[in-house]
Every structure is written in C-alpha cells, then in structure tokens.
C-alpha cells in the first residue's frame, strides 16, 4: 500500500461516506424467538423447521465472508460489534444501509413465511437499528406472496430506520410482472426504495438452461439475472405506472449496464408497439429510477477501460458506494475506492451524494 493511496483514502473518507450495502445474517432461528409468536416458536421447536434452508451465500465461501469477519460462534455478518469495527469505523461511514438476504421466499407455507419475515424485521429494529444510529435497513418480505408482502411493508414501513424493501434477484417471476403490483405499490406508498439483491431461492433455476454445477457459476451468472429483472421492470412499465418508484440493484456489478442498455434501446425502437407504455428510451428509465451499488466492481484490468465504462453509463448519478461487508470483494480499502482517474466531483457523488439524494438520507 503506497503512501499516496493511503492519503487518498484518508481524504475521501474525511469527506464522508455512505455505504449502500452492508450485509447482516440471522445467526439462527433461535435468535428470532423473541420476535416470533408462540405458535411459530413451538413449530420450530417441535418440527425441526429452522426457517429457510440453503443460503445464496455458502457460509465459508470466500465470497461470503472476509477472513476477519467471522465472530466467535456465529456467521460473518451476525455481529454488530464487528460490523462497527470493520466496516463503519474504518470508513468513517455516516450512514450504512443493511440488507438481510434471509430467504423467506423459500418458505412454501405462506403464514410461516410472513411470521419469519416479520420476526427478522423486528430483530433488525431491536438488534441493529435501535443500537446503532448510523444504520438504516431493508425490509424483508415474503415476495412470493405480494399481498402479504405489502401488508408487512405497511406494518414496519413507517419506522424511520427502514429505507428500503429487499427483494432477492432470483424470483419465480420477474418483479415487473403484474402479480407484484401490490408489493411495489406498498413500497411507493411508504416512500421506500426497492432494493434488488444477489441470490434468492425460488423454485426455478438461475439460468434459462437449468441448474449449474458450481457456486462460481451461480455467483458469476447472477449478473445476468439482474439484467433480466431490470429489463422486465422497464418493459412492464412499472416506472410508467409508478413515477416515484426507485430501484437499487445491490451487488449486481454494473460494468454490464452500458452495453445492455445499447441493446435494449436498439430493440425498443422496433418492438415498442408491444409495450407502448414505454415511451422513452430504456436507458432514460434507468437514469431516472435505478441505482447500482459499487461492489463487486467487476472492473476491467485496464483503468482506461474502467473509465470508459463509467463514462458510458451516461449519468454521474447511478453508482452508490458500497463495501458489501462482510463479503470479500477486495483486500485493501483502497481497492474499493472509485478509480483515481475520475473527477473529484464524481467521486464525491459515488461515495456519498448519490445515496443521500436517492435514499433521501
């Protein structure tokens, strides 16, 4: 680490940072007991049901956990003290936005799904938001039951700590589908961002050609699912229906965005009569309604190409700085900074101002 790089980090941090993606993990279903009705506590105790099964983040995979991020006796992302020490304090983070990829969408029983989602949300309030004023959080919802998800959003959406509704990018149907209208309506009604994040456990496979063999495929391929979701949101017209809707893609990568927008713009010119509510270039909807967190960069090896990509985004408002803690995306904090070749004003927008404006922080 060079002195220059350290100085640059110190300068940027001194100007203030908003971290748009911090991940928390529910250590075990027992931790949710204080927030669960008695019936569901008994179900868990007597049936062996433990909530959602497989996680999109294998607990010990390198991508899931920085080596130093695992607390004693719990998974990475389950300790507020470590999050404060390792993510908030070193960055001087003013505000950090929590997401919890607790896969309630995998729970078939709709009442169990609601109970677990509500418990996680109350746990987020009690264990994180109430204890650390720098934190904001995302509401966990049973997205497979949009009406019930809307009810949960209305239940906790008024809490000032919640700034976002969390939806996993993998889904049984893409989120522009009309079945989700109640959910999106509730998000807009409660003035919340819809955050679409890595992973999810729907019944359908993560590729159009079925199930891959390796986690590396799932991890790398997740970008293409974000692409499908974004395309669907645009062409279903949700931004036409909800002009106030804001969507953040979390851990999506973003270097794929410019060239995908070229493709969608091109095809829309001929195919738009089939989605006539889409009256502007798809890229314009993205510029107005969508933001993306910075980790993982998925950056080209050459900085000049990275600068080209950021220029090709066509807007300086799209990127939101994130550490993606405790996921292991970079080794030194300097690597998580925007490239030095960018103008200072743009760096300030990425590090803080874009998130402040978009989330109204």
């Amino acid at each position: 680490m060079t002195a220059t790089a350290t100085d640059r980090l110190a300068q940027i941090v001194a100007q203030g940072v908003i971290d748009a993606d911090l991940n928390v993990v529910v250590p075990s279903s027992a931790d949710l007991f204080p927030y669960l009705p008695e019936y569901w506590r008994e179900q868990i105790n007597q049936t062996g049901f433990k909530g959602p099964g497989e996680s999109s983040y294998p607990a010990s995979a390198e991508t899931s956990a920085r080596p130093e991020a695992k607390p004693d006796g719990g998974p990475a992302g389950s300790s507020l003290a470590l999050l404060q020490q390792q993510a908030l304090d070193p960055w001087g983070t003013e505000i950090g936005i929590l997401t919890c990829a607790y896969a309630v969408e995998a729970i078939h029983n709709p009442d169990a799904a609601v109970a677990m989602a509500s418990a996680v949300n109350d746990w987020l309030i009690a264990e994180w938001l109430d204890k650390e004023p720098r934190l904001r959080a995302s509401i966990v919802v049973p997205s497979q039951q949009p009406e019930l998800a809307a009810r949960e959003i209305d239940r906790v959406g008024g809490h000032p700590g919640f700034v976002q509704v969390y939806l996993p990018v993998r889904a049984e149907a893409p989120y522009g589908n009309r079945r989700y209208l109640p959910l999106l309506d509730a998000a807009v009604r409660n003035d919340l961002v819809v955050g679409i994040g890595f992973g999810g456990s729907p019944p359908n496979p993560p590729t159009p050609s079925g199930w891959p063999s390796y986690y590396m495929e799932e991890w790398a391929g997740m970008a293409s699912i974000f692409q499908s979701q974004l395309m669907n949101l645009i062409f279903e017209g949700v931004f036409d229906r909800f002009p106030a809707l804001r969507v953040t893609l979390i851990e999506s990568g973003f270097t794929w965005l410019p060239s995908l927008l070229w493709r969608w713009n091109k095809e829309w010119k001929g195919l738009r009569p089939q989605t006539p509510w889409v009256r502007r270039l798809p890229s314009e909807y993205v510029h107005e309604h969508v933001r993306l967190t910075t980790q993982p960069w998925d950056a080209p090896p050459v900085e000049a190409q990275f600068l080209q990509i950021i220029d090709q985004l066509g807007s300086d408002e799209l990127l939101l700085f994130s550490t993606d803690y405790p996921h292991w995306q970079y080794d030194t904090p300097e690597e998580a900074l925007p490239p030095a070749g960018l103008p200072d004003a743009l760096i300030a927008k990425i590090m803080r101002d874009n998130a402040r404006t978009f989330y109204r922080l």
Binding site: P212, S224, W262, W268
Partner: protein, 361 residues
Amino acid sequence: MATTLTREQTRTRVKPAVIDGDIHNDLPSPQALLPFLPAEWRDYHARFGTFGYSATAYPRINPNAARHDAWPPGGGNPGSSLTFMREQLLDAWNIEYGILNCLIGAGARRLDQSAAVAQAINEWQVATWLDPEPRLRASLVVPYEDGQLAAAEIDRAARDRRFVQVLLIARTAEPLGRRKYWPLYEAAVRNDLPIGIHFGGSGGFPFTGAGRPSYYIEDHAGMAQAFQSQVVSLVCEGVFEQFPTLKIVMIEGGFAWLPPLMWRLDAAYGRLRAETPHLKRLPSEYIREHFWITTQPMEEPTKPAQFHQLLDQLGMSDRLIFATDYPHWDFDAPDQAFPVRLDPDLERRIMADNAKGLYKF
C-alpha cells in the same frame, strides 16, 4: 456457369466479398422433410410432429421471425427458396461463402426421433442446398440433448466437409458445460469441427433466471443472458481443459456483453478457485482462446465511437465473424451494419478473413 459469371461481375463492379456466418434455410413445408426421414419414423413424425417443452406464447414480431420482404414470390417459407436466397442475399451482397444454420428443431424430447430428424435435415441440406449452390456451407443439425446420439450423427455426416460446424442452441435442458454434452464435443473435436451455439431454443425452463418474462422483446434481447449462462458453464465445468482444441462460435447473441462477463468471471475465479481446481487459467483466457462470435445483431452504442471502445475491451477482433441472419427480421446489411467506419484491415478480417481461418475456406 451463369451463376459464377454473375458473381464475378458483381464482385468486380461493386462490393468486396463477404462471408456470412449465419443464414437460415427452411423447409418449404413440413411435409418436405418426410422423404428424407427413415421409413420407421415417417408415419409417427407426420402424425405427431415433435414434442418440445411448455409452450411459450406471446405475439412476436413477424411470422417465422422473418423480414417482411423475405417471403419468396413463388410461395413457401422465408429461406425455403434457393433461387430467392441467391437473388436477395448471395448475389445482392456478393456473399463468397454463407453458412446455413437450419433451425428446424432437433431438441425434441423423444431423443431417437430427434436423431432421425437431425439426420433427415442434414441429408435434405445436402440435396437441396449444398449440391446446387457452391457458395453455401452448412452446420450439422444434431440431437444435442443426447450426447451419444449427437456424436453418432457428427461421425456419420462430417465426412462431407461442406458441413463446417455442429449446431447447438442457446437455451438447452442443462447448461452446456454439463457432462451429458461432452460426447458431442469429443466428436466435434475428433472431426475437427467448431461448435456453433445459435440464438433460441428451450430446455423447458423460464427464459430468465428470474422466471418468465411477459414480452417478446425480453425473449429476444434476453438471449444475451442465455448466452452468458452458457459461457459461464462451459468455462467453469472445465470443458476447455478436457477438450483443448474445442472451438465455440456464438451466433446471434451479440457480443458487447462479453467483456463485462469476462471481468466478472475473472473476479469470481480470483476468490472461488478452490472450488474449481480443474481450471488452470483465468476464465477470460479460455474465452479468448476458444470462442468466436458472430456480429449480428450488431451492437449500436449510444455514441458510435463507443464501438471502438467495445472492440478494445473485447480484445477479440480476430474472432468476430460477420453475419446477416438472413432471412430474419433483425438482419444486418453487410454494407450498413457497423455503426462506425472500421479500419480497412480490421473490416476485411471481420467480413471474411476470420471466418476463412476458422472454417478453413
């Protein structure tokens, strides 16, 4: 020969020769295949046709996905008349060689029937297209959902060297790196044929990793995501370690999405390589060594100069092969398709030389 004379005249008069990497020939009617089918399949095929997967129905753009001006004046489907194909494509654009990718399905659920249909299509292609027209070459249609049967068809038909490629499809029943397809790759390598993966298909899953989309534009533009999944699978499964001389041509998937995918795969490999010890090199190295890409549908960046940036990021200018996709609606015209003026040497490589090197013309 009159045809040859016409070609010579055209060539000297106007346009440089072009090699077209993607032309679609079609049967004039389904019955036209019956004489080529083995007798034991004729009755069944005429009675039932082939079974695919769950129907996906929504308005598409045009019947047969064809250019509206590509219906032969004498009747029959677009791409079913050699005379009209000569007039509208081969002569009009001075096509030196054109590669036929026949999309009549060989992905049916009854695998033996798929094999019989594939063989019949290949014999029909020889009799109806390759024998009468020396400018045409063809891809071998194979029952790709059964690796052994596909290998047998490759071994049978590849003796005719006018078959220059084995044809697979972008949406399959399993990701293409999975081992059930390996006998097919082994046969392709044994017969010194590249594998072409073409736009389309269905393996029975929703067209996106986030479920079924609603509109044709999502199906069509979404093919970029299907291709990404296949690249990820082929790389991560170690297909190129197993078959070091295997060559893959991605046809009609676009190519601007490939650089960001290479960056993301390299990042994934950086963290997760313990999971895939069979990989010896960076994913991007496998990709740049083993993949070719056809240009259609041409990428149309927001600013034309970004096309040069794209080629630089791709770093595969010796692997791009021009294609028209005749007679389909998203046809690219050889003299109009590129959004920028290319360096003449680069243009010659993309328009002809890269294909000549790959297909050994």
